[in-house]
Amino acid sequence: MNKTNPKIMPVMMAPRARATDPIRLKAWHGAALAAFVVLVSIPAFAQADGARDSVFTALARWMPLLLKGFIFNVVISISAMAIGTLAGAALGLGQISLSSWVRKTSWFVTQFFRNAPWLVLLFFAMFLLPFELRIGGIIIPLPDYLKAIIGLSLPVMANVSEIVRGAVVSLPSGQWEAAESLAFTRTQVLWRIILPQCVKRMLPPWMNLYSILTMATVLASIVGVSEVMTLTGQVLAAEGGRTDLLLPIYSTVLLMFFIYCYPIARLTLRLEKKFAVKT
């Protein structure tokens, strides 16, 4: 006979209490991450001799440059987010337009850019845009980082468009009906009643998107923008192929992104809880 106990049926197990808060990083997690960076540097530290300096000295030497590169990533992310949000809000409102032509066009544009790989869009922006615009006698230069911002703002635009549409649709239809019964025009309903209620619903996914965008800015290194990943490669080259620096420097870059993005993720989670729709 097999040994399964016939008395225990696979149904009606007592419900297990679910943790109210999923695993939550605390300060010591960050310390552990930093310790990891230090640990991987130790073998190199041990073999440091007179000819070349330790990993720590090398890291400290390059830190200002790497930080400058990282700030550039932040600038790219903020600019792309700003452009993408403005364009995306317009596109999102287009998706709920009464004119079927506007609605369909907005839907198509949204779907097109939402379902395209970010890197491919970035390449498109890089190679389709000229390096300077000539309007009459005035030359407006389009540096690479500007093209990268435009390229990254396209998928942001499409995602924001969906966030806006989703938020508007998610409001109970009673809001529309009540407002219309009070003789508000459609524009008034949208701007005074619907959108103000949408803002708090849109905030968490919007911040999520920003986090993802920030991490995606390193893609710009592939198209030659001098951001933190490009600089990391150049720093390693400047150190003359020192293999012991590879892990510490990449870990440092990782840590920078983590320190920047993690608080955003925490805040998003908190806002999500606060604005959670109780059903």
């Binding site: 000819a51 440059l65 400058k68 390096f131 030659g224 080259a237």
Partner: protein, 270 residues
């Protein structure tokens, strides 16, 4: 009223004249550079010691020094624009840079795209860095074995096709060196002058450059196609560099052994 109209007319005429004037100015980049006051040079930023970054982020090395010489001669400031192998000729074609000194090997097909200046300013060959214990003696010994390389280097193809090595290409030198040390490949195919520089470091004491150098190919600096005036000026500059021993001097300054090419060119122009 009339005044306002006249003012508008003057502005329009001035703008029109400016637009008109801007077109012929494109014909000679030298005038553009002098008017702008800045010479934009495309250089490598990840190729020690020919072009790399210092801790402040500035680009330094042998090629930036040469570019500085050109700017001094023209009496303008210099601006370094970092390029990589895949975009350096595009940048020149688009006019993003006026001059390109970026470790580019002089190839006939490249001469169709950009205007490479004669004589060549530098030269390097291909060799491998490998552990002494392997005891390689000929390129054919690499057949069927994994060999590290750099993405976009022209000698990868030759090493793979003619000698049957399996090329594992990396983005940067640091990654390739790390892979070599970790034993992911038996050798690292690269420029001989850079390998000599690496061998001087204690961490590579168990390694050697065992094979005969192949593909000793000259490097060409380039200007945009059709810029005859600039090409002639650069040609004179290169002759001057060889004659005065400037290239040899820069090699010493940046810790490279004097290459046979630079020594021979220096002797030739005496």
């Amino acid at each position: 009223m009339i005044n306002k109209f006249l003012k508008g007319l003057t502005t329009a005429v001035a703008l029109g004249a400016f637009a008109f004037a801007a077109v012929p100015a494109q014909a000679d980049v030298l005038d553009d550079i002098k008017e702008r006051g800045v010479l934009r040079v495309g250089v490598k930023a990840d190729y020690k010691p020919y072009g790399f970054r210092d801790t402040s982020g500035a680009i330094i090395g042998i090629e930036p020094d040469l570019a500085q010489d050109v700017a001094d001669k023209l009496g303008v400031a210099v601006e370094f624009i970092p390029v990589v192998s895949s975009n350096r000729m595009q940048f020149l074609e688009q006019g993003k840079v006026d001059l390109m000194i970026a470790t580019m090997t002089d190839k006939p097909d490249r001469r169709k795209v950009v205007s490479i200046v004669d004589p060549n300013y530098y030269s390097s060959g291909t060799n491998i860095l490998a552990a002494k214990s392997f005891g390689f003696t000929a390129w054919e010994d690499l057949r069927g074995k994994p060999v590290c390389g750099i993405q976009g280097a022209f000698y990868n193809k030759k090493t793979g096709r003619d000698f049957g090595a399996n090329i594992v290409a990396f983005k940067g030198t640091a990654e390739a060196y790390a892979a070599l040390q970790a034993g992911n490949c038996v050798g690292f195919v690269y420029d001989d002058s850079s390998i000599i520089a690496s061998l001087a470091q204690p961490q590579w004491s168990d390694y050697e450059m065992p094979l005969p150098t192949i593909d000793d190919a000259p490097w060409g600096l380039a200007v945009k196609l059709g810029e005859e005036g600039f090409n002639t000026l650069m040609s004179e500059m290169i002759v001057e560099w060889h004659k005065s021993g400037r290239i040899l001097e820069l090699e010493t300054k940046w810790g490279v052994e004097n290459t046979p090419f630079a020594t021979a060119m220096n002797a030739k122009y005496q």
